[in-house]
């Protein structure tokens, strides 16, 4: 110690060795608190309430056949939303997933008709789709265009490419031309539970990736504090590009699944925008913030299930088609309000 004036501060006693304190609360309240501390807690509650409402107020909601009807209402959106979550955690958004969903079957059709066999043509299609995702990522991370604008541009480019290459006429999906459903089609979307399995598998893998691997840590870090993440040595641009690739790749894949399921693809850009908004709604309802820094893939799945139940339940209740969007919109607003409320309760109780 060189000079007198500072030594007083430097020799102040350190406090006693800290002992890790246990979190208070046990038993039922502790369990409830733990549940609500889950980011997905609030949307699970909201979804269960909706489920119970429709189960009690209609007779044929809780049936196997209705469950099968429900599947296509949420499985594709769950996959799209799962990819979007990885972009949203970065604080970015990908508006081109609906257009990608639209474009990929046409791209696949083009490649297949050029003579590429069915499986290689799918792989090639997905490779090109991922390259487009990488392009989105480069525009955002390196060129520095806001993701809203960059992917909005890509949305129109892909819509346009779809119309140009298809000459505005519907196509028959490759691999589904033979009469009856073959094994290929069974796996890629046409089997009753095919899309459900894909959705569950993809959600599981991505949630594990987000919660349990470095990729998840880097994604949250890049979204939460971009400068800080870079200072810590994370290659933020690479993380951004990678996540845009995942998002686009999944959108292209869902496009293929759906085209196989319905055996045709129609060049309908306005329909693809509906898909986009449903997917983003599912992600947001599930608890992923638009401002970035946090998010949940399982939440997006539950958000998609919530939207599916709502849609299906309203139809079963015999709500006129004209009212469907109105009710859907109101329900989304109510669900989000409850979500925010529960989240506020959670933050209050979770403070330790």
């Amino acid at each position: 110690m060189a000079v007198a004036s500072g030594s007083e501060a430097a020799t102040a006693p350190t406090p006693d060795g800290p002992a890790p304190r246990r979190a208070p609360g046990g038993g039922a309240t502790g369990l409830l608190r733990r549940f609500l501390t889950l980011r997905e807690g609030s949307i699970i509650v909201v979804t269960l309430i909706t489920l119970i409402y429709f189960a009690l107020s209609t007779t044929n909601f809780f049936t196997i056949s209705n469950f099968k009807t429900l599947l296509p209402y949420f499985a594709p959106y769950a996959i799209l939303a799962a990819g979007e979550v990885f972009v949203m955690i970065l604080g970015e958004i990908d508006l081109s997933i609906g257009a990608m969903y639209l474009f990929s079957p046409f791209l696949w059709h083009l490649i297949h008709h050029a003579g590429v066999p069915i499986y290689p043509s799918i792989i090639l299609t997905l490779a090109i789709v991922c390259a487009i995702g990488a392009f989105n990522g480069v525009m955002v991370a390196i060129v520095g265009i806001s993701s809203f604008v960059a992917t909005l541009g890509m949305l129109f480019v892909l819509d346009g490419l779809t119309l140009v290459t298809s000459h505005s006429t519907p196509i028959t999906t490759p691999g589904t031309t033979t009469i009856g459903v073959n094994t290929f089609a069974q796996i890629f979307g046409a089997g009753t539970y095919s899309e459900l399995f894909w959705a569950l598998a993809i959600v599981a893998i991505l949630q594990v990736g987000l919660s349990l691997t470095r990729w998840g840590i880097f994604t949250v870090a890049s979204g939460g504090n971009r400068l800080g993440a870079a200072e810590a040595g994370i290659r933020v641009n690479a993380v951004i590009i990678r996540n845009f690739i995942v998002c686009a790749g999944l959108a292209g894949f869902v496009g293929i699944l759906e085209a196989v399921r319905v055996t045709t693809a129609t060049p309908d850009p306005s329909g693809s925008n509906d898909i986009l908004f449903q997917a983003i709604s599912a992600a947001v309802i599930g608890g992923t913030l638009l401002k970035g820094g946090s998010g949940t893939v399982v939440g997006a799945l539950i958000g998609a299930i919530f939207l599916g139940i709502l849609h299906d339940g309203l139809i079963i209740k015999g709500v006129s088609a004209n009212y469907l969007d109105l009710y859907l919109g109101i329900a989304i607003l109510i669900a989000m309000a409850m979500n925010v409320y529960v989240a506020r309760v959670r933050r209050g109780s979770g403070r330790g």
């Binding site: 060189a2 030594s7 890790p20 840590i217």
Partner: protein, 295 residues
């Protein structure tokens, strides 16, 4: 105007010694029209604590960010343990044993305490790609205990912690790394008296062990005289003073900073007649630039 050299501009030469672990020679850095560093010479001896001083915007943080590989200098060379040193990235610098506590702390609010402590150094359950959360939590607890920082729960997001606790985590992250050169950019800024004393104790302990060499940016002269062996003062983009702590005084340090301000004002008056202050080529800004090493 840029040639207003004054005594003490190249002080480094004579006092440097062969046991320098780090030498910084003729470093210059501009951000667009702003000159952050003009010609900086600096050296760090093994086991010493060097205080880096200077007025706000003198370029202290810029110099730290060049040494740690975040920015690339426009001119000048660096030597690490006798070898030429050209860090390509923060990771590269870390590989060379240089680790940094940034002024903005580089903490991720949304991540837990232990994930922040292991940020970009995550431990995995080999051979799987999964994070070894339990192991990281245990080691975090140990590292924080060693420093004497009491943070009751390590699984809460750091957003919930106080400014001092956050700063302690940032310091702990760097101190518990393998690095043997530590760069600390205002490690005491947000701390209360007790936490600050704890960090100064820690630095004294590290110095006693003699394994690490430290460059520390400080504003509080009390801390400077308590913790540092030597001080280097940046003014006008160059090192204006380089002395052992016990050969200088608060008055001398203050005088240089104020003198720089006077010269800048005179220069501005001379340049445009109107004494509106804010001299034309006065060096400013040590942050605010885009992370150009992020790619």
């Amino acid at each position: 105007m840029a040639e207003q050299a004054f005594a003490g501009e190249h002080i480094v030469g004579p006092s440097s010694a062969p046991d320098d672990v780090l030498r910084v020679e003729h470093i210059a850095k501009r951000f667009g029209p702003i000159t952050a560093l003009r010609d900086v010479n600096l050296h760090l001896r093994k086991g010493e604590v060097l205080g880096l001083l200077g007025d706000n915007g003198a370029g202290k943080s810029t110099l730290i960010k060049i040494i740690c590989g975040f920015h690339k200098q426009d001119a000048g060379t660096m030597w690490l343990k006798g070898e030429p040193y050209e860090p390509k990235s923060v990771l590269d610098a870390r590989g060379h044993g240089i680790d940094t506590v940034y002024q903005d702390l580089a903490l991720i609010d949304e991540l837990s305490v232990y994930h922040n402590l292991f940020l970009r150094r995550e431990q995995l359950l080999e051979p799987t790609p999964f994070l070894a959360d339990r192991k990281m939590r245990r080691q975090s607890r140990k590292a924080l205990d060693e420093i004497g920082i009491n943070i009751p729960r390590l699984d809460v997001p750091v957003a919930r912690l106080s400014g001092g606790q956050r700063q302690a985590i940032a310091v702990a992250r760097t101190v518990s790394s393998e690095a043997d050169i530590l760069l600390l950019d205002e490690p005491l800024a947000a701390m209360g008296a007790k936490e600050g004393a704890m960090i100064l104790d820690l630095i004294a302990r590290l110095k006693a062990e003699g394994n690490v060499s430290i460059i520390m940016i400080l504003h509080n002269y009390v801390h400077v005289f308590a913790a540092c062996d030597r001080v280097s003062l940046i003014a006008d983009g160059v090192i204006a003073l380089d002395k052992p702590t016990n050969e200088t005084s608060v008055d001398e340090l203050n005088e240089i900073v104020v003198e720089e301000y006077r010269r800048a004002r005179l220069a501005a008056q001379g340049a445009n007649g109107a004494g509106a202050g804010g001299g034309g080529d006065r060096t400013t800004a040590d942050g605010g630039a885009r992370p150009d090493a992020a790619g």
